[in-house]
Subunit: 136 residues, 2 copies
DNA sequence: TGTAAAACAGTAATGATTCCTAGTTTTATA
DNA sequence: TATAAAACTAGGAATCATTACTGTTTTACA
């Protein structure tokens, strides 16, 4: 199935490339809709999947039940705040070594790795009041 | 909220401790039902969540859209086969170093880490016919 | 331009998980 | 042992992210 150009796909990809916060499909939809009012949510999902399959973006599953998308396809780790849910990049030098080590030890083929750290981001550490408000 | 004993919870925990393949909630349900015929799926979910919150098991989100559960709560990586979807343990020595490195570089608090490798398991590598059948 | 393939908008369907409620089990205490 | 409060259960309804379907519009190319 040849891929044809679509304005919608380009707008989606452009939007993603301008963000560093790894938005969800719905966030992409809400934002792209500002400049492209009658794009449909299905189109957003279809193109995010297509771009992912073609390796132009990557899909992140950080464990909050919603897929996030990242236009940065370099190999890097992520951090997810257990309080506010924000997702940030966390580049670590040891990723290559780890992948090599895993390939050495595992009986099978390893193609890629996904590493995610969990904790509290700086903002949530500095504003503990927000946590009690949330739990109240 | 104090935790009271429940037969269902114990059966669920026992079942998980006897498996190394990181079953999903539904697999737990289907199996536990053999010996406990009218346990409900909601009870399975509730107890898996409760056990996870109490740190007696861990929840794995490997990116197939379904939660997996692991009675082994030691720090270890996982491997997920992109073909058959099986989930296996993959212990690596470098996990401690990686966590230390992440804590050094990240401005915030890091509590835990989740690392998952993706590729083809040995069985799927050895039976490439299954792959073409699947795609056909 | 004319046409076939691919993409679209809009909406319905799916499926994992959570929520709800009335009834049951557990546990602490008398 | 009774008993009462708190926690738990079964069963089913509700939620919500994502995918599938359908008739229409774009794109690519002759």
């Amino acid at each position: 199935m040849a891929v044809k150009y679509s304005r919608q796909r380009q707008v989606i990809h452009n939007f993603l490339m301008g963000r560093k916060d790894h938005p969800t499909a719905d966030v992409v939809y809400q934002n792209v809709r500002q400049e492209y009012p009658n794009i449909s949510l299905g189109t957003v999902y279809r193109n995010l999947t297509l771009l992912t399959e073609r390796g132009e973006i990557q899909r992140l599953q950080v464990g909050d039940g919603v897929d996030h998308f990242d236009a940065d396809i370099s190999r890097h780790c992520h951090f997810v705040c257990s309080d506010c849910g924000c997702v940030a990049d966390l580049p670590l030098d040891c990723m290559e070594d780890m992948l090599a080590d895993a390939r050495k030890k595992f009986d099978g083929r390893i193609d890629r790795q996904s590493t995610c750290f969990y904790g509290l981001c700086r903002d949530c550490l500095n504003h503990p009041a927000d946590i009690s408000e949330r739990d109240a």
